[in-house]
Symmetry: C2
Subunit: 147 residues, 2 copies
DNA sequence: CCAGGATGCGTGTAGATACACGTATCTCAT
DNA sequence: ATGAGATACGTGTATCTACACGCATCCTGG
């Protein structure tokens, strides 16, 4: 105990139960697992997620997509860069000239189609690791409004 | 339904229940909330987490710390950069000259001490948002071995 | 019509994340 | 002793994340 002299170390023990550490740790591990599966498909899970959301929900402005993904708008803007470069998404002005409507291209759909089986394997793998209660826990977190 | 023609769209609906999206979404939102509280303390939650772990567990090599944090070793190496620059941690070779022992400095302890109240507020805030079941869900995920 | 607040975005800056690859050191069986 | 495999790391590259700030456009009360 090198920090035995630290009078209030006991207080800091609380930090061991940090919700932030728990959530990020889980997210990192889960992301690595998905990415390891997606790698063969040549697409990252972040990108796959964006593309599949566009595929499922149709075109939408950046802000709305960011909300759906629980991501900062400016973060999403950066993430769209590589996707646009690959021509997997299209960007055009909406009725409101301020809005930038994002849509998935035919090529983007192809990417989703081809990479879906890999995503599916990753999903199955992590589902097994999580177990029924772990999956339920994640769904609960998803349903919570965390701001 | 702009993608009504897409024959297998139904299959892709599964992507809506992606465990990866759920975990990352939660982690992003939670991280933003913690960081907004920590900002006043001049330290990021990522950094606070690293420092407090060192404070609680004492010096250790990079690899071990990375495992504890559920982080890639190389990621941790990058994250240690700013901390070392601020002199919040010390780096020295261990008995095994390959290993780099990381330790928290007196200044680093001061940072943890001063920023702890802000962390505590964030923890309380998110605890309320999560609710008892949400907290339990997060603890369950933390206990799961996800690789 | 027309300020003034609200809304939708991009960029500068800075840090967080991780894979592929390469280096140095250790360990152990021969 | 020594060579092969294991271990502990750093770096190059690329992406992900988000705050502060600023710009353009929309909308609404006067």
């Amino acid at each position: 105990m090198k920090q035995a002299n630290d009078r209030d170390t006991a207080d800091y023990m609380a930090a061991a139960g940090c919700f932030c550490l728990a959530s990020r740790q889980a997210a990192r591990k889960i992301t690595r697992l998905y990415d390891s599966y997606m790698q063969e498909a040549g697409v990252r899970i972040t990108q796959f997620t964006i593309l599949s959301q566009l595929m499922l929900r149709g075109d939408m402005p950046i802000g709305k997509l960011a909300t759906i993904l629980g991501m900062e708008r400016t973060t999403l803007t950066r993430n769209l860069g590589p996707l646009e470069q690959q021509k997997w998404i299209s960007v055009k002005a909406g009725e409101d000239p301020r809005a930038r409507m994002i849509g998935i291209t035919a090529q983007g759909r192809g990417v989703v189609r081809r990479s879906f089986p890999f995503w599916s394997k990753a999903q199955a793998h992590i589902g097994k690791l999580l177990g029924a209660d772990g999956q339920a826990a994640l769904k609960l977190l998803e349903s919570r409004n965390l701001g």
